[in-house]
């Protein structure tokens, strides 16, 4: 449907008479557009966070934790526990680890390309250390990009020292970390240092997430280093790999079996999907609240348009009757109100897009927000145009139903 140019003049003249309410409706749409743009952008960012890629077999991993046992007995307890876990039908690999991605239990250390670097030095990076027993790479389902896995000898000879660093001299890095430490150079064979201890890079794996996010953006979320470790203290997590559909019964069987082995211990089992959901629970609830805000705001805006237009229709019943009496069709009356709404929404949307852009710039300056992609602007503009047309439909139909005879009655 096109709007004839002729129709615009009387609409503009009429709006000019109701300048203040018209300005307010434009303002409301502008505000709604600006808030909508930024809120949807933030929702999308959070959804992206929740689905951050993680190069391990997340769908096939179950986690079992045993706490409340004497750490001095770990050397005996862990092999016994792992034997039990391996015996559960469906389990393909088991390993013990110090911590896990997204577990919020971070073992971070500072890794450097030079020995004895100051913590604040440029060459030194905050990374999370993952210590794993033999078979850890299969249990986690890591993806090797370059180099090799740890050898059995490296696993067997590595022990945890007093500084919570393993005595091994080999290390496997994630791709992001390797590229950050030696940009443009192959990392294999290079030496990484923690204080005076040195580790030779033997492998590079696809990016795995850290136990928790640190300040250094999305890339920093992948700064992890893997170390081999023989069975001993410090290993609080069992990683159990299976087919995705077996995880339910494996978690149940594992908790039951291990509780029998250690009656005083607290045994906790969960799938890795639950670990991820728990880690991002805050992010998810925040996203839902933002969705709620958007829905309420759009509803209020729609109500506002319905209310104001209804009011205008009521006020102009005589004028509408006169127009009908001198030959205007119902369609033309409807079109009048639809066009009026379109003009108001357009003005609001134009103002709103500028406002949304401004808000985004402000947030970028003050709150580490990233730049909003351009398509959010026309996207929310389109949404408000649609909302406006839907909201005006009811009052416009009522206006079209005004009979011509109204014109002949005096007030």
């Amino acid at each position: 449907m096109t709007f004839p140019a002729l129709e615009l003049r009387p609409i503009l003249a009429s709006l000019g008479k109701h300048r203040i309410p018209a300005i307010l409706i434009v303002l409301e749409i502008a505000l709604a557009c600006a808030v909508l743009c930024n809120a949807v952008f933030m929702i999308n960012q959070r959804v992206a966070d929740i689905h951050l890629p993680n190069a391990m077999d997340e769908q096939g991993i179950s986690i079992v934790q045993v706490s409340g046992t004497d750490p001095k007995l770990a050397v005996n307890d862990i092999p016994r526990d792992m034997t039990l876990l391996r015996s559960i039908p469906g389990v393909s690999a088991v390993a013990a680890m110090n911590t896990l991605p997204l577990s919020s239990n971070d073992w971070s250390t500072s890794l450097s390309t030079t020995p004895d670097a100051q913590i604040s030095a440029q060459s030194s990076l905050g990374v999370s250390e993952y210590l794993m027993t033999r078979g850890g790479e299969q249990a986690l389902g890591l993806r090797l990009l370059r180099g090799r896995w740890f050898s059995d000898g490296e696993y067997a000879s590595s022990e945890l020292g007093d500084s919570f660093m393993p005595s091994a001299h080999v290390i496997i890095l994630t791709d992001s970390l390797a590229q950050r430490m030696w940009p443009g150079e192959p990392a294999l064979g290079k030496r990484a240092y923690v204080d005076k201890l040195s580790y030779t890079v033997v492998g590079v794996v696809a990016d795995v997430l850290r136990p928790q996010r640190h300040m250094d953006g999305n890339a920093g979320f992948y700064y992890c280093a893997f170390f081999p470790l023989s069975v001993g203290k410090g290993l609080g997590y069992y990683v159990v790999r299976s087919a995705p559909q077996d995880r339910g019964h494996i978690v149940r069987d594992a908790v039951q079996g291990l509780s029998k082995l250690a009656p005083n211990a607290v045994v906790k089992g969960q799938t890795f999907s639950e670990v991820r959901a728990k880690y991002f629970a805050d992010t998810a609830s925040m996203a839902w609240m933002l969705v709620l805000v958007c829905v309420v705001m759009l509803a209020v805006t729609a109500f506002g348009i319905v209310g104001l237009t209804s009011f205008w229709v009521g006020q102009r019943r005589r004028q509408i009757g006169i127009r009908r009496a001198v030959g205007a069709t119902r369609g033309q009356i409807m079109q009048y109100f639809q066009t009026e709404n379109f003009l108001l929404t357009t003005a609001g949307v134009v103002l709103g897009m500028a406002l949304a852009y401004g808000i985004n710039l402000y947030l970028m300056q003050h709150y580490e927000m990233s730049r909003m992609a351009w398509y959010y602007l026309p996207g929310s503009a389109l949404a408000l145009w649609l909302l406006g047309q839907l909201a005006v439909l009811g009052p416009a139909l009522r206006a079209a139903a005004v009979p011509p005879v109204v014109a002949t009655r005096s007030v």
């Binding site: 808030v35 933002l290 104001l308």
Partner: protein, 438 residues
């Protein structure tokens, strides 16, 4: 006169019930949605004790001097034993506690039971009331217990479940590291995230609940050693836990409650005075370089609070703004149409003030009705966030009375302004002109 205006207003609002309902609904939803989201956002914004965080402060003392500072001149994030005990002895805040992380073993009574390893903190008695820690049974211990190194313990409900089957265990005794301690209180599953009282050791978040709390000096005397981080600028001269207490290594967290700005200023001066005294006595060879941050600032300096959650608070405010503009628009449209009525009343001798009073009453009714609806919806909203959100977050979403009052005020003032403008405009015109033009 007010009764008459009230009647007029109600009559006018009744004339267009749909529009009136819309205005009331818009304000109500605006107020409710923005306050509810505000309280939830605040809950997930990482402030674990929002109702009190502005009164909790973390002091830092520069015990290492220029060589031990980080690149931005910050002193160590924890305290050494000497300073922590000195600050506790001076007792300058209304409440305070030094604390360190412990991991003692507990021997359950009963045959054939194995010792358990539990994690916890050694704290002072003021720790519990200062942090509003909720007790299921009993309470914390007194300052006298601290001074007398009493053998008391506070346990969390999880450990109480394990040792006493969840029964009221106050007064019973527990064997910790070979010594008997009397249970003074049982916490009600208290496990705040982030673990704001000891960020340095937990990195803010810790998956293990704190199960036991022992009096600080009792734990020191019993030799229950530090299980948390220890940072040293030099190798301690003596070895072992006693050597650690004599060294300049930092391993103790500290928190103080300061109720107002004057108390904060006084405490700051006290800290600087303390550091100057240390300088005079020759222990420090540098000028005071202390820090005193309130909890939000402390968490943010330790990068525990994600900054982008603050942005979400702005979104909630944006929503309120949209709702207010919407209502103001509707009210304006309604009032602007009534210049005729104003003309008649003015012609009959009503002064401008009477017209203002009448319209303010009408706008005020809408504002108050919307505000009350918003209040009810907020209560419902805050109560029902538990249905959609995880329990620990929902528990944190508390109603903030001052915020609610402020929102209500904004709503009423905005509607009142919406009532004023058309009245002002109508009263600018000669009554006769308005009557004629109709």
């Amino acid at each position: 006169m007010f009764g008459y205006y009230l009647e007029l207003a109600l009559r006018s609002l009744k004339r267009s019930p749909g529009l009136t309902a819309l205005m009331v609904l818009a304000i109500g939803f605006g107020v409710a949605a923005s306050t509810t989201t505000w309280s939830v956002f605040r809950a997930v914004s990482g402030d674990p004790i929002p109702w009190k965080s502005a009164q909790l402060f973390v002091p830092q003392i520069d015990v290492w001097g220029p060589n031990g500072r980080s690149s931005d001149g910050e002193p160590p994030v924890a305290m050494d034993y000497t300073d922590a005990v000195a600050l506790m002895r001076d007792h300058r805040a209304s409440r305070q506690s030094a604390m360190y992380q412990i991991s003692p073993s507990i021997v359950p009574t009963g045959v054939g039971k194995h010792p358990l390893n539990v994690s916890g903190h050694a704290v002072y008695g003021e720790f519990f009331p200062m942090l509003d820690a909720p007790f299921k049974y009993g309470s914390g211990w007194s300052n006298n217990d601290d001074a007398n190194r009493a053998q008391v313990v506070v346990i969390n409900s999880k450990l109480n479940q394990k040792l006493f089957g969840g029964a009221n265990s106050v007064g019973k005794s527990i064997n910790i590291e070979g010594k008997d301690y009397r249970v003074a209180g049982v916490l009600d599953g208290w496990n705040p995230q982030p673990r704001f009282y000891d960020v340095v050791n937990s990195g803010g978040f810790s998956s293990a609940t704190d199960d036991v709390f022992l009096p600080f000096q009792t734990a020191i005397q019993a030799g229950i050693s530090n299980d948390g981080n220890t940072n040293c600028n030099a190798v301690p001269a003596e070895s072992g836990f006693v050597g650690l207490q004599h060294s300049a290594c930092v391993w103790i967290a500290y928190m103080a409650e300061l109720s107002d700005a004057a108390a904060v200023t006084a405490y700051r001066e006290y800290l600087d005075g303390y550091a100057r005294d240390q300088q005079k006595s020759g222990r420090f060879s540098w000028a005071p370089n202390n820090r005193l941050r309130d909890l939000p600032a402390w968490l943010s300096s330790q990068h525990v609070v994600p900054s982008d959650t603050k942005v979400s608070l702005l979104v909630a405010l944006g929503l309120l703004l949209v709702c207010l503009v919407n209502t103001v628009g509707l009210l304006l449209a309604k009032f602007l149409r009534r210049s005729g009525e104003i003309g008649v009343r003015r012609a009959l001798g009503a002064p401008r003030s009477a017209i203002y009073a009448q319209f303010l009453t009408e706008a005020g009714i809408v504002g108050v009705a919307g505000g009350v609806l918003g209040l009810l919806l907020t209560v419902v909203g805050v109560a029902s966030v538990g249905w959609v959100l995880p329990k620990d977050i929902a528990d944190l979403a508390r109603l903030d009375v001052s915020l609610l009052v402020l929102t209500l005020l904004v709503a009423v003032v905005a509607t009142a302004l919406a009532g004023l403008y058309p009245t002002w405009r109508a009263s600018q015109v000669q009554p006769a002109w308005q009557l004629k033009s109709n």
